[in-house]
Symmetry: C2
Subunit: 144 residues, 2 copies
């Protein structure tokens, strides 16, 4: 699978905002987060926009604008982030319909669909076990 870094960057941004707020600041800007993640502010705004739609962060506009958490890091899991930024299924079916007159061509999709669903369910369960607070604590532990 083409591995992408959307989940990684989203987790980075959330941890950054969370830590920044604990240091007494109200909001974080996409510019600051982009500097920490070494990427472009627009990339951060796009990702945070998806997290806002999922109810994980809020944004303010105007002067003194920026991003803040909509919930505590303790209540956010990697599954929340995953579902906000990764739309598709883990494994895709054929791009074109297999030959339906063939026994395998006819039965392979329902068979795999079932199996894939079970595996994704397990993946979701694992992702739900990790909170963003867990991640921030791990991050802080690395600097000691």
């Amino acid at each position: 699978m083409s591995a992408n870094s959307r989940l990684t960057i989203a987790a980075h941004a959330l941890a950054w905002i969370g830590l920044y707020q604990r240091q007494g600041h109200e909001v974080a800007t996409s510019e600051q987060i982009a500097t920490s993640a070494n990427t472009n502010p627009v990339v951060i705004r796009r990702l945070l926009g998806e997290l806002r739609r999922a109810g994980l962060v809020e944004s303010r506009r105007g002067a003194g604008a920026g991003w803040s958490l909509a919930r505590e890091l303790e209540s956010m899991t990697l599954l929340d982030v995953y579902e906000a930024v990764e739309p598709g299924p883990l494994f895709a079916m054929h791009r074109t319909t297999p030959h339906q007159e063939c026994v395998v061509g006819h039965g392979i999709q329902p068979a795999l669909q079932n199996i894939y669903e079970g595996i994704e369910e397990t993946l979701r369960h694992e992702l739900a076990r990790v909170t963003l607070e867990n991640i921030l604590q791990d991050v802080l532990a690395a600097s000691r």
Copy 2:
């Protein structure tokens, strides 16, 4: 993640070869498999080449050439196929190194690396629970 269909096509090909051999044939051609999967024979040959490197199938050249299973379907799991055709990790890190002078930038990669490894281990465990024989039986059950 950009979902891809490599695992799906590889499983399709293996199930097809397995069934074809049970019907008394020695080898299957990439042309036949491509027809069933509704794709191009070269795509099949490329994928089966990776499965051959993993020791799952064998190929013969020359006249009357084609592909055959190197092991029983009972002894092949989806994990074997996954490892043969999916090289990278499930989730990628940042494309560029995050800002190391930032606490989050410095600690985020080791923290996520740990978490991702645990999740991939669970995924592997799930994939290892499904054999290609299971899949073929599911396929055949769909046609009854």
